[in-house]
């Protein structure tokens, strides 16, 4: 008790002590996730988050391994921004609104890999490292579970959907689609849309009645 009183008095006399305590905590990075930071190595982003796995993506890619055409001498590397006509003509690069070209994300020298903005190689299986360079807040949400989807189980091994399982990296915005069938009324009942009811709402009726009542009261 005495000790506490003494501490309190000390703090009252020297409030700067408290400030020192706080500021030291602010400076301390802690073990939380640091968002919105450009990492020197994109893999740093996963170092501090709960462990997870993703499904292999290279199995599902049509043209993989890319080196079959690109690095085995068939096609010379060409960094020039141009319209693709012979191959990959199906790719509509809407992402980034014209700021990007293939080699922004694809490694020019080894096409089996993606490449970070600081020119580190990233496996095609880990696109979340690449996307997180710009979308760092999303990336944090993805690692912690607020973006993307955990597959199969809520406990045990954490298996996440990869960015590219839902988003087309070349045109990431999901287009609208037709929903599943609407619910039907129980047998013997029917659904009447609100518009067909004449749009008359109970509370509006009530308001009308109230105003007309107060008007009739007036002399």
């Amino acid at each position: 008790m005495k000790g506490r009183l003494f501490l309190l008095m000390l703090l009252m006399l020297f409030p700067s002590l408290l400030w020192a305590l706080e500021s030291s905590e602010i400076r301390n990075d802690g073990d939380g996730v640091v968002a919105a930071k450009q990492y020197d190595d994109p893999k740093e982003a996963v170092a501090r988050v709960p462990a997870f796995v993703t499904d292999l993506r290279t199995d599902k890619l049509v043209y993989y391994p890319c080196e079959n055409c690109h690095t085995k001498g068939l096609i010379a590397p060409n960094e020039k921004v141009r319209e693709l006509t012979d191959m990959h003509a199906e790719i509509q690069l809407q992402h980034g609104g014209g700021r990007f070209w293939c080699t922004t994300c694809h490694d020019l020298t080894d096409r089996n890999y993606l490449v970070s903005l600081k020119k580190q190689r990233i496996s095609l299986n880990d696109p979340y490292l690449l996307c997180g360079q710009c979308h760092s807040a999303r990336q944090k949400d993805y690692f912690m579970g607020a973006h993307g989807r955990r597959k199969a189980n809520w406990k045990g091994e954490k298996r996440l959907t990869n960015c590219t399982e839902c988003h087309n990296p070349h045109a990431p915005k999901t287009p609208p689609r037709i929903p599943r069938t609407k619910p039907v009324a129980r047998m013997g009942l029917s659904i009447v849309p609100t518009e067909e009811l004449g749009g008359e709402k109970v509370w509006e009726k009530y308001e009308e009645a109230k105003t007309s009542h107060s008007e009739s009261k007036k002399p």
Binding site: G145, A146, R149, R150, A152, P179, R180, K182, V184
Partner: protein
């Protein structure tokens, strides 16, 4: 909570059971017919099973042996009715687990995939489908649930401009009004937070549906129409085992899946990743991250129901 001590009422029931069964067997032998009292609901289930089912205790009051018997009886019954080997489990709640759900309203696009996933998992009556999840189409900027439209058409693509979508299912309240409303205690909250129904104990008075502020409870007005090919044979006594006419049913967070560590069917079906499910007691779970770091809200909080179903946006 289970009561193993036999109450006078239970003794009376047991006595009645044996007495009645003896009489029935005697009558059967006399008449030498295969099925002396054919049941209307399930023509081919044995008379003995129907008899025992009639005198079956409340789930929480049954001894482990009685539960095993009841499960085997149900499996025989479903085999007779649907000619499918249905497994009826009774996995107990996991230690240190309370389930919670969060839904990202800014991600939900109103595809109704969760509804489809739910109806394929949970053995509801088909045609017309009984659906646990109601996706409301709401005017942007409004939060009046009464103005939400669950019947938005399947012709137009979604999301429609100026609308947002709000799926509602059982919120598994921590303070559930439906449980209080039940006059026979056929519904209760399990230790892992799931509000369940003992379909065999439900008398079908629909008081719980009256009490629920989230329209989560659905009633079987007719004998469920469940095509054999639509049956999910992995079931739970308190979950998705096929129901019968005159009982209440609801979302159970897919108790048959989640108690084994799997995700609920709606979470698996959602293509947008709007649904987050997990253990509220685990500080490293995804649901805890959402609750601690996102703008979350619950529906009709003023009713003090304490739902374990949150909505958030990012």
């Amino acid at each position: 909570m289970k009561f193993f001590r036999q109450s006078p009422d239970q003794k009376r029931r047991a006595a009645l059971k044996t007495l009645g069964l003896g009489a029935a067997v005697g009558a059967g032998a006399l008449a030498s017919s295969a099925n002396p009292l054919p049941s209307i609901e399930v023509p081919s289930a044995s008379f003995e099973d129907n008899w025992h089912e009639f005198f079956q205790q409340h789930y929480q009051r049954m001894s482990p042996e009685e539960i095993t018997e009841a499960l085997a009886r149900l499996e025989r019954k479903y085999k007779a009715k649907y000619d499918v080997d249905v497994h009826v489990g009774n996995a107990p709640p996991l230690e240190g687990v309370v389930f919670g759900y969060a839904l990202n309203v800014s991600k939900c696009q109103g595809y109704r995939e969760c509804v489809k996933g739910c109806t394929t998992e949970n053995n509801q009556t088909k045609d017309p489908d009984l659906e646990y999840i109601r996706v409301l189409e709401m005017e942007k900027g409004s939060m009046n649930l009464e103005h939400g439209d669950p019947y938005y058409g399947e012709e137009e693509p979604v999301p429609k401009p100026g609308k947002f979508y709000l799926p509602i299912q059982c919120h598994h309240c921590e303070n559930p009004p439906c449980v209080k409303a039940c006059p026979v205690k056929a519904t209760w909250k399990e230790p892992d937070g799931i509000v369940v129904v003992d379909y065999n104990w439900c008398i079908g008075c629909r008081m719980c549906a009256n009490a629920c502020p989230y329209w989560a409870r659905k009633f079987n007005w007719h004998e469920p129409k469940l095509p054999v090919e639509a049956i999910n044979p992995q079931t739970h006594y308190l979950g998705n085992r096929p129901r019968f006419r005159g009982v209440m049913e609801k979302c159970t967070f897919c108790i048959q899946r989640t108690r084994e560590g799997k995700m609920p069917a709606c979470q698996e079906a959602c293509p947008t990743g709007a649904r987050v499910f997990g253990n509220l007691l685990d500080p490293h779970s995804e649901i805890r991250f959402v609750l601690e770091n996102k703008n979350v809200f619950r529906l009709k909080e003023e009713l003090n129901t304490e739902p374990k179903f949150w909505y958030y946006s990012d």
